[in-house]
Amino acid sequence: MLRAGLRSLTSTSPLNKPDLNTARTYEQLKAGVSIKMRMGCILKIIVASPSKKGLLVRARGLASEVNEAEFELSDCPIHKLDSGPAKKAVLTRDDGLHFYRQMQVIRRMENAASTMYKSKVIRGFCHLYSGQEACAIGMQAAIHKDDSIITAYRCHAWTYIRGIPVADILSELAAPCMLMYEVNDVKYDLSEKLKGEGRKNGCSKGKGGSMHMYGHEYYGGNGIVGAQVPLGGGIALAHKYRDNGQICVTLYGDGAANQGQVFETYNMAKLWDLPVIFVCENNGYGMGTSVERAAATTEYHTRGDYIPGIKVDGMDILTVREATRFAADFTRSGKGPILMELTTYRYYGHSMSDPGTSYRSRDEVQSIRKTRDPIMSLREKLLDSGLADTDDIKRIEKEAKEEVDAAVKVAQAGPEPALDDLFLDVYADDNMEGHKIRGCDNWIRQATN
C-alpha cells in the first residue's frame, strides 16, 4: 500500500527531469533546492525506481538538502460530511525525523516493557502500543499543546508523546521486587502484597501503574473500558464553557465502541456541540474478539449516527496527521463533535496475559508487520524521498535505543514507594502528618497489635 502510494507521487519539479543517477551533482542539486526554497514552493520528489536499494543510493547525496516532500495520502471515507481531509500532505525533514524518532522510542519502550514484564520486573496490568505508533504521533502533530487528550489503558505512548520521559514511564511500570520493613524486631515482607505497581519516581509516583499516567492537559489512561469517554465529553464541556479555544481528543478502542455510555456521550456532545474529537482506535480485536464478532457494523466512523465521521488509515502517520488537522479545525470552529476511526493493528496481545495468537494467526501478524508497519512505512517515505539518508536513520535508531536502555536502568534502580505512600493522595491534603486513612492499614494493625 505504501509503495503504491509512493509510486503515484506527482512531481512538477525540474529535479526529476534529469537522470537522477548521472545528472545530479551536488552543486546542481543544491542550486535547485535553494531556488525552490526561495520561491517558497514545495520541493517535489518523484520515486520511480523499482528497487529499494537503488533508491537509498540516490537518496544519500540528497539528504542534507531535501527539506520538504509531498506525499499522497490514503483515502479517507467520510460520513455526513461534504468533503474530507486533504489528499496530499507535505512532510518536512525536521518533522519526518522527529516522528521517526518518536516512533522508534515508543516501539523500543514497549519492547523493553515486554522484556521487563517477562522477567517479572513489571507486574500487574500492561497493555502495549506496538503497531499503533502512527496514531498517537500523527494526532499529536496536528493539535495544539494545550488541547486535551484522554485515552484508555493502552496509554504508554500517549504519555511519552505528551512529554513524560521514558524513564518516568518505565519507572511507573516497574514493580517493587522486595519491600520489607521491621516493627518491634519483627520483619515483614510486603513484596507479595504490593507487587505489580510502580516505583516512586514513576510519573504517577508509582501508584498508577501501566493504565494510569498523566501529563499536561493529558487526562490519562483510564482502566475501565469506555468509562473515559463521558469524561472526555466533560472536559470538552469545560473548554466550551470557558470559551478557551481548546478541544478534547477522546480516545477509545473498537471494544469500548459498543459501550452504552459511548452513545450517551455522542448524544450530549452533539446536543451541545462540544469541541471534541472522538477517536476509535480500531486495532481489529476487543481483547480476543474480532470486530466482526462483536459489532453489528464495523464502520466505526459512522456509529455516531448524527455525528460526522472519517475513516482513517491509522498505519500512515501523514494520513493520521492530516485527518486530525481536518477534524480539529472542524470541531474548533464550533461545528460540534466529529468522529475519527483509525484502522490500526496491535502486534502484542491485548495485555501481557494474552499471547495474542489464539484468535488470530501468526501469519496475520507477520503479514501486517511486513506490509503495513507504520515505522517501516515512514522510513521508506523518508529514504525514498531523500528527506533522510541511511545515516540519519541509523543515528536516530541508535539514539532511541540509548534513550530506552538508559531508562530501563533508571526504572530498575529507582526507589520503591514508601509504605506511607499507601495512605496518601486519597483525600486532598492527605500529605498532612499523622493523617490516617481508614481501612487501608490491616497489616500495620497486625504488626503493631
Partner: protein, 294 residues
Amino acid sequence: MEGETQKMNLFQSLTNAMDIILDSDPTAGKDRVFNTPLSEQGIVGFGIGMAAAGATAIAEIQFADYIYPAFDQLVNEASTFRYRSGDLFNCGSLTVRAPCGAVGHGALYHSQSVVIPRGPIQAKGLFLSSVRDRNPTVFLEPKILYRQAVEEVPVSDYEIPLSEAEILEQGSDVTLVGWGTQVHVLREVCKMAKEELGVSCELIDLQTIIPWDEETIIKSVLKTGRLLIAHEAPLTAGFAAEISSTIQENCFLSLEAPIQRVCGWDTPFPHIFEPFYLPDKWRCFEALKKIISY
C-alpha cells in the same frame, strides 16, 4: 449562623445554597444551569471531566434510586482519580446531588465523601461545604424532607464542616446514631425512652457517612456503654455494620450490651409493605428495650 433568616424547606434551602455558589462566579450567566438527557453514567462522567479540567461541577441525579448506572463512574473514576494519578489530577470540585431515602443508600461508596443532611439548615451549610471541599462529594437529599421539613434558614453564606457528627441531645444511658430522615425517628425514640422507661439517650446525627466522625461516636459509647444505629438501607452491608464493627474494636470493654442495628430488611419492598420495611420508631424502641434489659 447569625443574621437574617428566611423560612425555607429543604429544596429551597439547597436552591439558595446553589445561588450563592453561582453568584460567587459572576463571569457567566444562565447557561450554567441546564438539563441533561437521562444518562446517569454520562452525567456523572461529564461532571468528573469538567471538574478534572478545573471547573466547579454540580451534577444532579434526579433520584438516588437511579444512580446505579453511574456507580462505575463514581467508584472507579471519581473516587480514585487523585490516588491513581499521584495527586496530579483530581475531580475535587465535583458534587453529585441525589434526592434519596426510603430506598437503599449507604455502604457501597468508596473514597469520595458522602453527605446527608437532616433538614434545611444543615442542607445548605453541608452543601456549601461539599461544593467547596477539594474532594468529590456525593450529596444525598432525603426526598421526604424536600417539602415537609421547613426551617428558618440563614440567607447568608455559611458552612457546616464535613466529617463532623452533631450531638443533638446529650444523654447517659444509650447512644442513638442516625442520619437524614432517620434522625427525626430517633428523636421520637429519645422522647419515648425518657417518658416510658426513664432512659436517657444521646442522639447523634452522623451527617457525613464517608469519611465519618468515629471520634464522636466512640466518645459517646465509652460514656453510655450502649449503641443503637438505625438506617433505611438494608441491614446487610449497610453502613451500620461498619459503625458497629468499629465501635466493638474501640469500645469492647465499655460495652454493656450488644450493639443493635435497626435497618431496612434485606429485601426489595413493594409499596404495600413500606411501613413494615422502614425502621420506624416502634422497631427502634423495641431494640432500645433489648439493649436496656440485656
